[in-house]
């Protein structure tokens, strides 16, 4: 496959390039956290963030061009929302913390497997890119959001104060899924 086909154009897909840069920074943060505690979970995060950066950098262009501004803005808000979750409360029982860790790992595993399946169709804002119906997408319509929700349930478990952010985040995932379904129905 030629470079012309696989690389997006910097001027036509600034959001892809910007997203790739952000994911690359996240990979660096995950790398630092792995170096500090040698937790395998962070290796999973490094792999996911680097893969997301690569796919955003080389993704297929949107067939229909960028969607409405409010859709794009809400999609970015939805992506950034998990960053503001509160930390676990200090009195959280160890068993609950472990249960939350297991859920987080499963959630990120599901979303990362989905990321590799969707590969060059990956994007934050709803857009008309080649539809993926293979692998995990045969069983779940939006496995990446499912993975995020599983991981965010874990965050809610260790600090109930997070329920408002969790509610907003899950609502936005449903909304994004609905918009993506309608975009693909129009194809």
């Amino acid at each position: 496959m030629s470079t012309e086909l696989t690389m997006n154009k910097p001027r036509s897909d600034l959001s892809g390039r910007g997203g790739a840069a952000v994911m690359f920074i996240f990979a660096g943060i995950a790398g630092y956290r792995f170096a500090v505690g040698f937790q395998i979970f962070f290796l999973l995060l490094i792999l996911r963030d680097l893969a997301a950066a690569y796919f955003l950098f080389t993704r297929a262009p949107s067939v229909s061009g960028p969607g409405p501004l409010h859709e794009r803005l809400l999609a970015y808000v939805s992506s950034a929302l998990p960053l503001i979750y509160f930390s676990p409360i200090e009195s959280t029982p160890a068993a609950l913390l472990m249960g939350a860790s297991l859920l987080s790992i499963i959630g990120f595993c599901v979303s990362t497997v989905a990321l590799f399946e969707i590969s060059h169709s990956f994007g934050v804002a709803p857009a008309s890119r080649p539809t993926v119906k293979s692998g995990i997408y045969r069983f779940v319509r939006h496995p990446m959001y499912l993975g995020y929700v599983i991981a965010e349930v874990a965050i809610l478990m260790v600090n109930p104060l997070n329920f408002l952010i969790f509610g907003a985040s899950v609502s936005l995932y449903f909304w994004r899924g609905k918009i993506e379904n309608s975009v693909h129905r129009l194809e």
Binding site: Q39, I40, F41, L44, R48, S101, I106, V113, F116
Partner: protein
């Protein structure tokens, strides 16, 4: 290639799950050794 990376993701996740359980068990064992209350 895609399947290879997905396999790697699943292996890393299994490793992380095992590491989390082992860390929990080891912390619990240490707490019992120290006779911490509530353990």
């Amino acid at each position: 290639m895609k399947r290879l990376f997905q396999g790697l993701v699943i292996l890393l996740a299994i490793g992380a799950l095992v590491q989390a359980v082992v860390a929990f068990n080891s912390n619990e064992a240490q707490a019992i050794d120290r006779h911490e209350p509530g353990v």
